[in-house]
Amino acid sequence: MTSIAPFHGFGLGLRRTHYADFLEGDVPVDFVEVISENYMVEGGKPLRILEQVRAKHPVILHGVSLSIGSAHGMDHDYLAKLKALIDRIEPLWASDHLCWTHNSAHNSHDLLPLPLTREALEVVCENIDRAQTALGRVMLFENPSSYLTFPEDEMAEWEFLSEMARRTGCYLLLDVNNVHVSAQNHGFSAQDYIAGLPLDRVRQIHLAGHTPGEIVIDTHDREVCGEVWALYAETVARTGPVATMIERDDKIPPLAELLGELDHARALAAQRIAA
């Protein structure tokens, strides 16, 4: 299995509303991230579009259904289809989340939280080993936003992620907005969370908007807020240059608006890394 070299660039998630911009125009991004499952299909237009975008930009495959936290094991059909897509697209890397999405019977289609126990850590590390072996490459895994914690928790999430990366050799996709959301929901310090991670394993950062409330929800339906920008600035000052992207999945604005946010990320990173 290979390691993943740092890639210093700024990118956006490819969404259907912006297909024409990416296919017909010259969009100033360093990479494009796509939801893997949208292209894990037998054939047809989606794959054709992805291949055309890939001809113009490096692509990252970001999955939501690998379910490395599932105590019921991995879905081999899923892994085979992901491998086929990786072979076809040759992405910069493939990523997914620290979460579970299915048991032996049903699929949640949502990123469900894990009890942060030693047992769960064993399961996650075994599943990551199986996935990385099946795919023939190391992956990135993202810290999720979460809305509940478990009474049986034995460690902090950053400790869980650190140990997971150490044991499996995987890298981290650090979602700064998710850190902020979970910190708000569970009352820990976002700064402590970032400081507790092995930042040399971070290969990508996600930025997104959320919906405030009694429970803060990771909705990806609005611009990045000031607190998340501040946390991003503190984070890149420690990581150094790192691939950064803006995620927007709902109420998707014109591309120019997202490119404006991406410019802000570029400026912040340049300013903080230079300092």
């Binding site: 037998e42 054939g43 047809g44 105590a71 999405t101 299915h102 048991n103 769960a120 429970i215």
Partner: protein
């Protein structure tokens, strides 16, 4: 079963069914967090159904569709990793919920078939010239055993309503005779066609592995021996011209 598996089974069961009691040791704060996950789960699935069955939603109205989609999500919790399959069986759900309006289930079936054809495996098409070349040396026995493999994603069913009007105008126009609808993909675009029932039955039989000779026999029974040979030839020529055939089956 491991402790983690028990927690996951219990949590997913409570996402699927809000009437189950909270897990031991869980507080109202846990219940509030669980409600966020339950809402995410339901809204993702209902949204997937709305996206796949856009025309069906317009036909029945937003409120009725929302109720039907919620019913389907409860009665058919997803078993696949892909949201693409969330709509599987929704036409049957519609047939049950809109029993007095059979056009609803027919339109839902059509939308589902178009949705599946959209991402079906890419495949070459056998056209008339290719067919002529492949069968140039056929003798009587070869013709009798001729079988076809149809393009990936092809789907067909009988319908009582005019699908063109259902699709474009959401107009439930009852046909004088039951017909058959064929769905397949032309290039990147899913398409459908309404054909007379005998042709639909012949295609259905061949799609399940019947030989052309068996399809001709079926047509003879439906159209009469005089009319069947010409109809069979015209039907085969049309299938080849419209790109329904991938190759000759071995």
């Amino acid at each position: 079963m491991s402790a983690l598996a028990q927690v996951q089974d219990a949590m997913l069961a409570r996402i699927l069914d809000e009437d189950l009691p909270l897990l031991p040791g869980w507080t109202p704060r846990h219940a509030a967090g669980l409600a966020v996950y339950r809402n995410n789960y339901r809204s993702a699935l209902v949204e997937a159904l709305r996206s796949t069955f856009e025309r069906t939603a317009r036909l029945v109205g937003e409120d009725s569709f929302e109720r039907a989609a919620a019913h389907h999500v409860i009665t058919h919790p997803p078993t696949s990793w892909t949201l693409d399959l969330a709509g599987e069986g929704f036409d049957a759900t519609c047939a049950q919920l809109f029993a007095q309006d059979p056009e609803v289930a027919e339109l839902a079936w059509l939308e589902w078939a178009m949705h599946r054809a959209f991402v079906a495996r890419d495949a070459a098409r056998l056209d008339g010239a290719g067919f002529a070349a492949a069968t140039a040396s056929y003798g009587d026995a070869d013709w009798a055993g001729l079988r076809l493999r149809f393009v990936p994603g092809i789907a067909l069913r009988t319908l009582r309503h005019d699908v063109k009007r259902l699709w474009s105008d959401r107009d439930a126009h009852l046909l004088e005779e039951v017909a058959c609808c064929i769905v397949w993909r032309e290039g990147e675009r899913p398409v459908f066609q309404q054909v007379p029932l005998p042709e639909g039955e012949a295609l259905s039989a061949m799609e399940r592995g019947a030989s052309f000779a068996e399809a001709c026999e079926l047509l003879s029974g439906l159209l009469g021996e005089d009319e069947a040979p010409a109809a069979a030839g015209a039907m085969l020529a049309r299938w080849l011209a419209e790109g329904l055939v991938e190759t000759l089956a071995q």
